[in-house]
Amino acid sequence: MSEATLQVFIDGVINYFQHTSDKDVKVGSPYLAENHRPAAFDFTGIIGVSGPYKGTVYFTAPKALLTHLLLAIGEKDTSMENILDLVGEVSNTISGNARSEFGQEFMISVPVVVEGAPSVIHLPKELRSYVIPVYWKAYSAAVVICLEH
């Protein structure tokens, strides 16, 4: 995967957090991770990608970050339903925004939300993923890209 491709998703996550009440988001250096040991926090929003790019894009974050993020976008109801909704919406927004660069052929699914890491259905064990660390307030999260082109 090229640096330019990764930058699309880095820009996407920065853009998302800059629309919250606390815009101070930082992104760490991307690294490769084996899919049999996927990067994961408490909750994960998974987007399936088809077309010229095939695979998975996911956003994973701890419950505390998602709770804080709900408040930062003005949502006072921090129920589990909204936490799950939010992690899916973040992943959907980052993936959807990538179409500004990759075009309409970058087809994305509706989000699937899970606790912990994606299963092998979404993350084939023989492949590797790029992990983009995300730091917001005192929390860590990650955007993970597992795409074949």
């Binding site: 853009n15 998302y16 629309h19 709900l70 976008i73 003005g74 949502e75 109801d77 339903e81 909204n82 909704d85 939010l86 899916g88 919406e89 959907n92 927004t93 980052i94 993936s95 959807g96 925004n97 179409r99 500004s100 990759f102 075009g103 309409q104 970058f106 994305i108 699914s109 509706v110």
Partner: protein
């Protein structure tokens, strides 16, 4: 002047609630919300909105199909697409199906209200 009636269509509850909150004391009266295109079609006749905000990527029926069906029922309804899909082709496709505006997610209240004002024109602002 009476507030315009607005229906919000998005599969995300937090986005529906965000748009609803943005209209508290605003130009529009949110008369209904739907979590899919199918729900939107069922609700549309009951609430008879003047304006619809419409997501694209949704389960059961996507926003493009829903726009086509809503415009067939009520050609004068104004539709603002609110979607994360930021490519030009999707925007053009939505406009060709009958939407009048496109707002890319993520958005804040200022961007949303600006897009809605542009959608309905000066006569309602």
């Amino acid at each position: 002047m009476d507030k315009l009636r607005m229906m919000v269509v998005d599969d995300s509850n937090i986005i529906r609630r965000k748009i609803e909150r943005s209209q508290q004391g605003g130009l529009f009266d949110v008369v209904g919300t739907a979590g899919s295109g199918v729900e939107a079609l069922a609700l549309f006749g009951q609430v008879d909105p003047d304006v619809v905000t419409m997501d694209i990527t949704m389960p059961q029926m996507d926003g493009i199909e829903c726009i086509t069906q809503l415009k067939a029922r009520k050609p004068e309804v104004k539709i603002l697409v609110v979607s994360a899909l930021s490519d030009k082709a999707t925007g053009i496709e939505a406009l060709e199906c009958g939407a009048q505006g496109f707002l890319c997610k993520p958005f804040d209240d200022v961007k949303l209200n600006g897009a809605l004002k542009e959608l309905v024109g000066d006569s309602h602002v």
